[in-house]
């Protein structure tokens, strides 16, 4: 079986700022990889590149054996199999929760409205959101909004999920409910690439942790090794700062 994601030598800059300077990463099916690193280390940008929201300047990205960064690839088709969830939720504020979930399946996949709604309700029930289906996003708590955003991505039945600091905009007491959702996804075998500042969570859920530093993966390994005996000096310093900040 081919790897879920192969990232090779990916480079990306915004103007003069080089954000990714040659990232290499291979993920097997059902693997959960956590990206850690300082802000501006390129975690979010890498996820956006895998979803083709940002064009890359060099390198290539292969998903399930198909190069998605090749010319002439149907970007919409690629995105349908890769779900992404953003830090700021980005729910559609003018639609109910249910419509947020059914929009893409009905319009991009051509599923009938009734079928899409039935599937959406199943997902909402699974994540304890069924009573919110008729609410508008701004009536929900941050934690609920983020759970809706995750289920919205799942409604497209993606084979890979990208999570971009999905708990960073939440009040601390709301983080747990979102992390529980992600744990459930992991136990269901979803392939996930997660950018996170929640080190405890990364330790717990990741099959592998990658430390991103200055636009490249400096060190990677199983969480136990990265968090307790990092080899690189810069990884050590980063983790010390995290501990000093009380985040681990």
């Amino acid at each position: 079986m081919s790897d879920a994601i192969v990232i090779e030598g990916v480079r990306k800059s915004f103007g003069k700022l080089e954000v990714l300077r040659g990232v290499d990463l291979t993920m097997a099916e059902h693997e959960v990889v956590c990206l850690i690193g300082a802000s501006w280390s390129g975690k979010s940008t890498l996820l956006r590149c895998v979803n083709l929201l940002e064009p890359i300047e060099a390198g290539r990205i292969v998903v399930h054996g198909d190069e998605i960064t090749a010319r002439g690839v149907d970007v919409n088709a690629v995105r349908r199999q890769i779900g992404i969830v953003f830090q700021a939720f980005n729910l559609f504020p003018h639609m109910t929760v249910l419509r947020n979930l059914t929009l893409a399946p009905t319009e991009a996949l051509g599923v009938s409205r009734a079928e899409a709604e039935q599937q959406a309700r199943e997902l909402l029930r699974r994540f304890g959101l069924l009573d919110k289906e008729q609410e508008y996003p701004d009536r929900l708590s941050g934690g609920q909004q983020q759970r809706v955003a995750i289920t919205r991505a799942l409604a497209m039945r993606p084979s890979i999920m990208l999570l971009d600091e999905v708990t960073s905009a939440l009040d601390p007491e709301l983080v747990a409910e979102v992390l529980d959702v992600i744990r459930e996804l992991a136990s269901g075998g979803m392939t996930m690439l997660i950018a996170t500042h929640e080190m405890g969570f990364a330790k717990d859920i990741a099959s592998r942790v990658c430390f991103l530093d200055e636009g490249a993966i400096l060190e990677q390994g199983p969480p136990a090794q990265i968090f307790s005996e990092p080899r690189e000096e810069r990884t050590k310093r980063f983790l010390q700062r995290i501990i000093a900040a009380g985040r681990m």
Binding site: L53, N76, R79, R80, F92, P93, H94, A108, R152, M156
Partner: protein
């Protein structure tokens, strides 16, 4: 004043209030056309990609042109100039009202397109990213995510433009259409009694003030929603 309002049919003097119905009719015909044409222009200006460059260029040129030309001149050009060309297909349309409405639509669409565009640009790019990330096309993202939010936001300024449109229907008097302002002028010229202008003014105000209050109401409602909704 009463006479000017109802007119003196036996002497062939037009009634201002019935002339005013023409203003209302022109407004009602022009408004939906403007809403549609302006939205098309605004959307065309938004569509990205080199293939659409000529369309963007046309849309931009259109708004630049018609915002730059005084409405009165547009009315003269469409009302006198276009029929003067004696284009065969158009020769059926002798009524100056049609040319007048065309002038209003052409001119106002340019302004209203800019209002829409402001609305479209006020929708945060993260909304487009969210829509595209779900596999929706650029057009679907515009159609389902951006435009509905943009329109909600620009309803107050749109209404403002429509108050202005309702008043500017008076300008088409220059084509010889007897609308309210022209009827008032005719009455005044016959009787040397210019209170007829006040009658016409009152009629316009009767329409525009409720529109203005309605606009205020919508702005207030948006403000309340924003403060209740926090982030949004």
């Amino acid at each position: 004043m009463k006479e000017s309002f109802f007119g003196v049919p036996s002497q062939g003097e037009p009634a201002i209030w019935s002339a005013f119905l023409l203003n209302v009719k022109m407004f009602l015909v022009a408004e939906p056309l403007i809403l549609v044409l302006a939205l098309v222009i605004a959307v065309v200006r938004q569509i990205r990609g080199p293939v659409f460059f000529p369309f963007r260029l046309v849309a931009t040129a259109y708004t630049d042109f018609f915002r730059g030309i005084p409405l009165l001149l547009v009315i003269y050009i469409t009302g006198y100039g276009v029929p003067g060309l004696e284009i065969r297909g158009l020769s059926f349309y002798r009524s100056p009202v049609i040319y007048a409405v065309a002038a209003l639509v052409l001119s106002y669409s340019a302004y209203v397109a800019e209002v829409y565009r402001a609305g479209i640009e006020s929708v945060h790019p993260s909304q487009v990213a969210a829509a595209r990330s779900l596999g929706l096309s650029q057009w679907q993202a515009l159609r389902f995510v951006v435009i509905p939010q943009a329109i909600r936001r620009v309803i107050p300024p749109l209404l403002n433009d429509f108050i202005s449109l309702q008043k500017d229907t008076a300008l088409v008097a220059v084509l010889g259409n007897i609308e309210a302002a022209r009827a008032a002028q005719i009455y005044g010229a016959f009787r040397f009694n210019y209170s007829s202008f006040l009658v016409a003014a009152a009629l316009f105000i009767v329409i525009t003030i409720p529109l203005a209050r309605f606009t205020d109401h919508l702005i207030e409602r948006q403000r309340r929603r924003r403060s209740a909704g926090g982030l949004m």
